[in-house]
Symmetry: C2
Subunit: 259 residues, 2 copies
């Protein structure tokens, strides 16, 4: 199967999930707390992950899978083909708003991103990337965002980082920028960087499935994806994530040293 | 002209503006700073306000008009019919993102809201209210949001308030809620309360045109619109705005006393 054929197959899976979500949007969901009041999982998160895992297993039984809800494998290395799934990124938005969430999927091979998907399902916008072929939205190729500095742009961040842990370094980043936006979904905030709507997205303690598609998108668009120290991200553990334009990257890393 | 006929006429004006924006979306805009780097005005703000003012003057030459960009009148009382216009709410988003902004309009009569409009133009969602007839989106009547407490919901706020002026009272509100969302447009954040996506929206130092439609929407949906002390809002001056569910209102006003 060529990479383009695989891309088409994955999109078919994702559109099936969109149909399922639309058909079940008025269903009262069973919601469980994971670690806290604002860390939730629904039967829909589980359904979507199971469905994607079963699709992958059917076609690629040798591949490894990492999923937020645990239907995949426990992995200790990124050798070979590894699929990374976030069935619903922004579950709190999904529960409280029935919008502003994303279905996310990425395929890595020996640690190198091959394919990436962030699907804003309620808005019907599917962003996808194929290695060395750029990023598209609903099949339309995106341009590289302008390389703006921090003071020339808005930034996106998370409630947990910017408000609960408001330190002088973070405040300085916010104040050096034109303003802060918070959407409550790492996937949708990654898309804000992809579209050039913000010059950076920063969030602390994200899981591999929160960041896997973003790394591929940034690479394809000539943007930067690192941790808060400017080092490479690690898909086997939690990460403080900084996605940004090249110009804003150094400025933000310098200011983050003050945290 | 009946209120329903007037509502139809206003919607026709607003859709004409949408068409104009769509036809000119790739135009390079002349952007001017007003008071600061993040307080901008474009020729499009001016064009839209002029167009609305001219439509209103043509049909209702006796009415008074208050507009953000100054094409209306200087008023010192709310007697009679007063139109309040925000041609582009979220101008910074408009300039930096070409989305996530709103065209807003409201009609008051002797200080009582009669009609209100918040138009998310790029998303093609026109929210409108007629006094005593509820709120609709694209003609579909909205349900009243659930009366949730602060701890049961998300809140929306502004960068300026939550990050630059982060005080213990604001931090307590954020921490008592499930999380904070920031969209950068008072109009779109008002819609988050209207939809029940958040239990409250709070922002400091807003102008009459930022808050005029929201007051009407809240009244129609049985929600609360006050200043930070729980007092009535004043359409002749700047206000600290709190839109919220009834349950969250008292909780937030109590916490705001600590600012």
């Amino acid at each position: 199967m060529s990479i383009e054929e695989l891309d088409s197959l994955i999109k078919k899976w994702l559109y099936e999930i969109k149909e399922y979500l639309a058909a079940n949007k008025d269903k009262v969901l069973e919601v469980e707390q994971k670690t806290a009041d604002n860390d939730l999982v629904t039967e829909m998160d589980k359904f979507i992950e199971e469905r994607l895992v079963s699709n992958i297993r059917e076609h690629f039984p040798e591949d490894k899978i990492v999923g937020e809800e645990g239907f995949g494998d426990e992995i200790s290395s990124l050798e070979g083909r590894v699929w990374i799934i976030d069935p619903i990124d922004g579950t709190l938005n999904f529960v409280k708003q029935q919008e502003n969430f994303a279905v996310m999927l990425a395929l890595y091979d020996d640690g190198i991103g091959q394919l990436a998907y962030v699907f804003d399902v309620t808005d019907n916008k599917l962003y996808s990337a194929i290695k060395n072929k750029g990023v598209s939205c609903n099949g339309k190729q995106l341009k590289k965002p302008q390389d703006l500095t921090l003071s020339e742009g808005l930034i996106a961040s998370s409630s947990a980082l910017m408000i609960k842990n408001n330190t002088s370094g973070l405040k300085a980043i916010a104040e050096s920028s034109l303003g802060v936006r918070m959407l409550g979904s790492a996937g949708l905030e990654t898309l804000e960087v992809v579209k050039g709507n913000v010059v950076a997205y920063l969030a602390s303690n994200l899981k591999p499935w929160d960041i896997a598609p973003g790394i591929v998108f940034m690479k394809e668009l000539g943007l930067t994806a690192t941790d808060f120290n400017g080092n490479s991200l690690d898909l086997l553990s939690n990460n403080n994530l900084l996605l940004s334009t090249n110009k804003a990257h150094g400025e933000i890393v310098d200011l983050l040293k003050e945290i």
